[in-house]
């Protein structure tokens, strides 16, 4: 298991280096000059000399190879550089939003798993009964309804029925737990519904598949209690594809909640991502892409390790 974990960890390094190289050069191909966009953002009259001074200050006048070397050295020392738009360290810009985004992702995952596991199991075990149909209807609804729309409905509902809205600025969990949860539980629910629908459908289909396997029939023929058949043999195997989906969805939530964040006025990474792209803020986009890539490979690592825990064949391969 240790060797398996070490192998997986080592594989992360070339993946991240590949992402770093790609993101650096691809951003340079895209048209748009951050300095011009920034200095003329308000329609002001800015001389070419001022633009050149700013380009020099940001190091954009240096050869691309030198900029790339700088970026890679910075990455190795966990220095993501300075935002070209705000002139603040990229790490600082991300840190302000990261806590909120991770919290929403964790709460949505918790919410999704809490709903999806019993729903998916019930639907599979009561296949083609009215309960199954209801669950399928609920999950199809989750896939069909955009999270931001559900978010808007939640807000309008809270406003109409309770004349109340969640806080509009973020309070860290260690400052005020109640205030923090009061703000984030609603967006977590809005995105968690879609998330739970995806996972519930995955659990239902994989559980149905596993329940048709020979070893389940054998277990039942041997007279093993049904609860044991389901809990120990069927569910354990059926959860494997669901774990993959949960992991991928979690990584997506870190930077993908662009519209939902705006509905709830959340200061998250999704909004920052869109802003930094529209402002051609290369260093910030690079930092965000690396962060999200890191989340994806880390989540994949965790999923791989869980596979090994649930399925011994993986770790002994």
């Amino acid at each position: 298991m240790l060797r398996y974990t070490a192998n997986r960890l080592l594989l992360m390094v070339p993946t991240l280096i590949g992402v770093a190289v790609l993101v650096f050069f691809m951003l340079r191909i895209i048209p748009g000059d951050v300095v011009e966009v920034k200095l003329r953002a308000d329609g002001g009259n800015v001389s070419q000399q001022t633009i050149e001074v700013e380009r020099k200050r940001l190091g954009l006048d240096r050869p691309m190879a030198v900029q790339f070397a700088d970026w890679m050295v910075g990455l190795a020392t966990l220095d993501l550089g300075t935002s070209m738009w705000t002139t603040r360290p990229v790490r600082e810009e991300i840190a302000i939003r990261l806590e909120l985004s991770i919290e929403v992702a964790i709460m949505a995952t918790f919410f999704a798993v809490l709903i999806a596991v019993p729903l998916g199991m019930t639907a599979a075990l009561m296949r083609d009964t009215w309960i199954d149909y209801v669950v399928r209807l609920v999950t199809i609804g989750g896939l069909a309804v955009p999270s931001f729309w559900l978010g808007m409905m939640i807000m309008i509902g809270l406003l109409t029925f309770f004349n109340w809205l969640p806080p509009i600025t973020f309070t860290p969990i260690y400052v005020d737990l109640k205030e923090n949860l009061t703000q984030l539980v609603w967006p977590a629910m809005a995105v968690g519904y879609r998330y739970s629908a995806v996972v519930a459908r995955m659990i239902r289909s994989s559980l149905l598949e596993v329940l048709g396997e020979d070893y389940i029939r054998t277990a039942r023929a041997k007279g093993v209690y049904e609860k044991l058949v389901i809990g120990r043999h069927a569910l354990r195997n059926a959860l494997l594809p669901a774990i993959t989906v949960i992991g991928l969805e979690f990584a997506f939530l870190i930077g993908g909640l662009v519209v939902t964040e705006q509905v709830f006025n959340l200061n998250g990474l999704g909004k920052l991502f869109v802003q930094s792209v529209s402002r051609s803020d290369f260093t910030l986009v690079q930092g965000l892409v690396m962060l999200i890539a890191l989340f994806y490979v880390s989540v994949n690592l965790v999923v791989d390790l869980l596979y090994a825990v649930f399925d011994p064949r993986v770790r002994y391969r």
Binding site: V37, D42, G43, T50, V53, I96, M152, I168, T169, N267
Partner: protein, 529 residues
Amino acid sequence: MRRLTTLRVLAAGLLAAGLAGWPAFADEPKRGGILNLAISAETATYDGIASDTFATMHFAAPFYSELLKFDLASYPKLKGDLAESWSVASDLKSYTFKLKPNVTFHDGSPLTSADVKASYDRMRKPSPGVVSVRQATFEDIGTIETPDPLTVVFRMADVNPGMLEHFASPWNFIYSAAKLAQDPKFPEQNILGSGPFRFVEHVRGSHVQGVRNDKYFQAGKPYLDGFRGVFMLQPAAMLNAMQGGQVLGEFRGISPAERDRLKQAMGDKIRTEESSWTLNLLVSFNTQKKPFDDVRVRRALSMAIDRWGGSQGLARTSTLNGVGGLMRPGSTYATPEAELVKLPGFSKDIGASRAEAKKLLAEAGVPNLSFKLLNRSIAQPYTPAGVFLVDQWRQIGVTVENLQQETSPYFAALSSGNYDVAVDFSNLFMDEPTLGLSKYVSFDRAPENRSRVIDRDIDSLFDKQRHSVDTKVRGDLIRQMEKRTLEQSYSVPLLWWHRIVATNAKLMGWQMSASHLLGQDLADVWLAE
């Protein structure tokens, strides 16, 4: 008996005084409370001289003071801010300001004439790397003298009749000379002012926060303990927050539909105020591109727009309303309607105008013209304006694609000239002609002229009006410049904006004006509960 009479008189007097005083007592400003307000954009810079957007103004104004301010109760009259008094030489060649004594910056350092001089020098002659969009405004200043710590004298190189109003520009924040000497770019990312509020924090993407400046030079002000400006980029989220009472105001402006929604939901708990707006939405034809280098094409496109009919419809759905020329309708130098309708594009007979427009396009050899309209992806009023223009031009056989872009790429395209026709705007804070007309002078003098034209006749008329002290002569020159601009149809007005501001009934002391850049320091604002 005498004692009884005295008591009666005293009681009657007290009662009368009480009754008379009651309304005044009810309107008495109350101290305390934190004001939450919405700011519908987030600024990249804190520096007033580098910006032209309300995002910077609504963020930074509560932290700074200026020499003069517009008195919104009797706009466009001026009042002193840092200036205790001022005098203007009869030949308009010098302006002398006496500063209020004992004014300090928020770090406790004294504010003197040296700070005023350093701030104005930075605006008119910025160091390399410092962006000043106010450079042209103050180019008529020759020298700035500081005979003593409380006196500043501006000696003019050229006469400018609008100069005093320019000293009241809300952008002229006074910075610390010492800080500017250390780093001329200091105000870009740091805040050190002498305004009613001290800076606490700017959490990027979230909010800006300030607390009361207890040493503010206006005794007893500000009334609030502090304020928090929350960045709310989504109008729906902002309206929800207004309705829920989480923010008590947004001072840029909302659309008629948003006003109606808030009124319906909140009844007398919401207050709405309306005014014409010192913002003019323009259509700029890129004269450096064919066929827009042909005056017939430009004029035809301007003449196809039914401004009078459009103002009726757009006023119901957007923040557009007033039909006017280059100066705001109703302002001193605005063209009267009787004269305006004689100018190309402003006739009330739209049928005849469009027939003439078709003829002009045919003469120019482009009867089936098609092009892209560069527009900004902000709902109000850009989207309805773009849709309206596409429809207007369709009626003379012109096919147009409304290309809406995010603010930054939109401005980048405008600056690089990468467009055929653009929806543009003129954003003013007062009706002073030199400020309002500077956008229409030749491109080599005014890069913000999005038609990118060089027209020395217009430049000449602009310069003559700029230095003219005779109001009548000046008015005639302005009218000639406007006629030339509209006949050549370089940049033409579409409609003037209409400002609607909704504030919670608890919010008191904030004053409505024709500009969303004025009156944002929150010094007079207080909370009724």
